[in-house]
């Protein structure tokens, strides 16, 4: 009888303590808020795959904090500001989520980061380039991507000279990102305009989600620009360029860094897409860093091809830097992580190059290139 009693007691004790054992090895959960469905689903899916590969690479090397694995928890924001706020609510409501990689679109990030800030959760944007996002003195918001004004400045330095363009048309799509980039470009061009070297002959917005752009394009055609800069997303960019060529606009098309990807080429068709330019961060395949090679190899092994746009790898780097900060500080406390990222992270090797943050939470030093769609429909650095 006594033995059975001990067995029962040991059993009960085991039952009580088992959960604690499990808890000791429980994974570090990092959230990913991205447009898994909706108009930017293509980008969202690649970001999800990238984060999962990044986590897999860390886990294969033994995880962080002496053996804890990284788990990615994905929440869909459908690329809509309203859904984005709900997605952020969902993630901050889960106690085990340490920090969040959030999100692709600037207009979605704006309300979402408000919520992360309110509930004190570190959130790192990976495709959010609108300048004002880091002008709000938020403590918990960072981004691994660049800012629109760095891109606007690059446009002003490189593009008019390349096409010997005097008359420039700028078209945006009224989203936080598109309008921001257009305004920054205008600002960057100001000194050249004042010197009488160039002029902006067209500056207007289109409505995203529309399919028919014949009217704004006709207006643009009548101003006879030498080069046309569109700061918006690929879904509209592909329709715009098709319809523009239909109504006889022949000037070079330069897209912002969200305008051209494989989908753009597919929708517009190779005949129209080839020779379209874009200002862009270096694409994944053009990155020289060893971390990039390792990451892309793992990505390609699993999915057959490397990501076709630059943004997903910024998501992977956001995840990496969160994991790095948790590992180095030994803490999952938001304020500790935020302070560490802001003050101590500097030149940490990442897939997209050395990672460091400014006091505002911006990424330090992001290079830009002029890319072009070549005759095979591949997007390559323009010579």
């Amino acid at each position: 009888m006594k033995i059975t009693k001990y067995v029962v007691m040991v059993g009960i004790l085991l039952c009580v303590f088992m959960p604690f054992n499990v808890m000791a090895a429980k994974p570090v959960v990092i959230g990913l808020q991205g447009p898994i469905t909706g108009p930017w689903a293509y980008e969202g899916q690649m970001a999800k795959q990238s984060c999962e590969i990044a986590a897999q690479l860390i886990n294969q090397k033994g995880g962080i904090l002496g053996g804890r694995m990284i788990e990615v928890r994905v929440v869909d924001d459908a690329g809509e500001p309203k859904t984005g706020a709900l997605a952020a609510q969902k993630l901050v409501g889960q106690k085990d989520v340490v920090a969040s990689v959030s999100t692709y679109g600037s207009s979605v990030c704006e309300p979402a980061s408000n919520i992360y800030e309110k509930y004190k959760k570190v959130n790192i944007g990976y495709g959010v380039t609108a300048v004002r996002l880091t002008q709000r003195n938020f403590k918990y918001f960072f981004r691994t991507c660049g800012r629109d004004d760095s891109q606007g400045k690059f446009f002003a330095d490189a593009v008019p000279a390349k096409f010997s363009a005097k008359k420039i048309a700028i078209m945006h799509d009224n989203t936080a990102f598109g309008k921001g980039l257009a305004e920054d470009t205008k600002r960057a061009l100001k000194s050249m305009i004042d010197a009488g070297k160039v002029q902006i002959v067209y500056y207007d917005a289109i409505t995203p989600g529309e399919k028919d752009f014949h009217v704004p394009l006709t207006n643009l055609r009548e101003t006879k620009p030498d080069v046309w800069y569109f700061t918006g997303y690929y879904a509209e960019a592909a329709l715009l360029i098709s319809q523009a060529r239909d109504i006889g606009i022949t000037c070079p098309f330069v897209g912002g860094n969200a305008a051209i990807n494989d989908e753009f080429v597919k929708i517009a068709g190779l005949n129209i897409a080839k020779g379209c330019y874009m200002t862009n961060e270096p694409l994944p395949g053009d990155l020289p860093y060893p971390e990039a090679k390792e990451f892309l190899k793992a990505y390609k092994d699993k999915y057959g091809e490397i990501p076709s746009s630059p943004w997903p790898i910024y998501a992977a780097d956001a995840l990496n830097i969160i994991a790095y900060a948790v590992d180095k500080t030994g803490s999952t406390k938001s304020s500790v992580l935020a302070n560490y990222l802001r003050d101590k992270v500097n030149g940490v090797p990442g897939i997209t190059g050395p990672i460091g943050f400014t006091k505002l939470g911006d990424r330090e030093g992001v290079p830009f290139y002029l890319y072009v769609v070549n005759d095979e429909g591949k997007i390559v650095i323009s010579q």
């Binding site: 909706g38 009224n174 207007d204 289109i206 028919d212 329709l239 006889g248 929708i267 068709g269 005949n271």
Partner: protein
């Protein structure tokens, strides 16, 4: 002047899309007094089926039919498939609840709309799909300073042809007379020996088929389709129906064309961002002065 003409052609192109979709709304409303909210999704479904035909039959189409033949083939296949879906939806979602009255039927129509939309998403995925550019005839025409494409003209001609055929069927044939009689008074029409169920079968094949063909044309014209596209076009077509006078078929045709042209001119001469405001302002004005719509006298007569 050239820009004006160009915008007029662009407006007529979209207008003919609206008109073809509006006909489906108007026919169903005329007979059943039901606003068939699923109609926009029939249109989207047609667009996706046409896309599938073009993508999977691309080799066959280019070698046997040529590009224009491919377009016609895609339109016919889409029309047949969606006509079938239309009949099934009527049997499954509408017929069982006719006795319950008009409001439950409208709710059921909304349900059917959501169902079709999500089915499209599950089958073809949430991403934008692109009509293969290599399978779409792409010939530019430049008359003076007017830039249009041959596809636009073909779409216009085809739409007017379809509108003409439908007009002929409804106004000149015996069966069309049966439809009009049913629309005027269902019970008396049955007493005169008109098979009510056959009339319903007919409108639920013809309406969705027209919608599906429009879907293929829209896919060809814009090249980019999404599973939510049915809602927008459905709403615009519904507006066109009201503008022309709901239940009145020539009214739906003209309502669609007028709406398309108004939209283009609103965007061109007022502001692109305000074009919908402009369109709906006109709609409100028309409804204030002619509550039955522009061509709505016949509806008023029967009430």
């Amino acid at each position: 002047m050239e820009v004006f003409l160009e915008q007029l052609i662009n407006g007529l192109t979209i207008g003919s899309f609206y008109a073809l979709i509006a006909l489906g709304y108007s026919m169903v409303y005329g007979i059943l007094k039901l606003i068939n909210f699923a109609h926009g999704d029939f249109f989207a479904l047609g667009s996706y089926i046409g896309y599938t035909v073009l993508v999977f039959g691309s080799a066959f189409i280019t070698s046997h039919f040529g590009l224009w033949g491919g377009m016609i083939a895609a339109m016919l296949v889409a029309a047949f498939c969606v006509a079938f879906v239309g009949v099934v939806v009527e049997r499954a979602a509408y017929r069982p609840i006719y006795p319950a009255g008009r409001l439950p039927a409208v709710v059921s129509a909304l349900g059917a709309s959501i169902f079709i939309q999500n089915t499209i998403m599950v089958i073809w995925g949430p991403r934008y799909q692109a009509y293969p550019a290599s399978l779409i005839p792409n010939i530019h025409i430049q008359l003076g300073n007017i830039h249009i494409t041959l596809l636009q003209i073909v779409i216009l001609v085809l739409s007017f042809f379809l509108l003409g055929i439908l007009y002929w069927v409804i106004q000149k044939t015996t069966f069309g007379a049966a439809i009009r009689a049913t629309a005027l008074d269902k019970d008396t029409a049955s007493l005169m020996g008109i098979n009510f169920n056959r009339v319903i079968f007919f409108i639920f094949t013809l309406g969705p088929a027209l919608g599906a063909m429009t879907g293929v044309m829209v896919g060809m014209y814009y090249r980019q389709i999404s599973f939510t596209m049915g809602w927008n076009y459905g709403l615009k077509a519904f507006t066109a129906t009201i503008l022309g006078g709901i239940g009145n078929l020539p009214g739906a045709m003209f309502g669609g064309l007028i709406l398309g042209v108004l939209e283009m001119f609103g965007a061109a001469y007022i502001s692109a961002a305000w074009k919908d405001v402009f369109v709906f302002l006109i709609l409100i004005l028309v409804l204030i002065f002619r509550p039955t719509g522009l061509f709505g006298e016949k509806v008023a007569e029967k009430v």
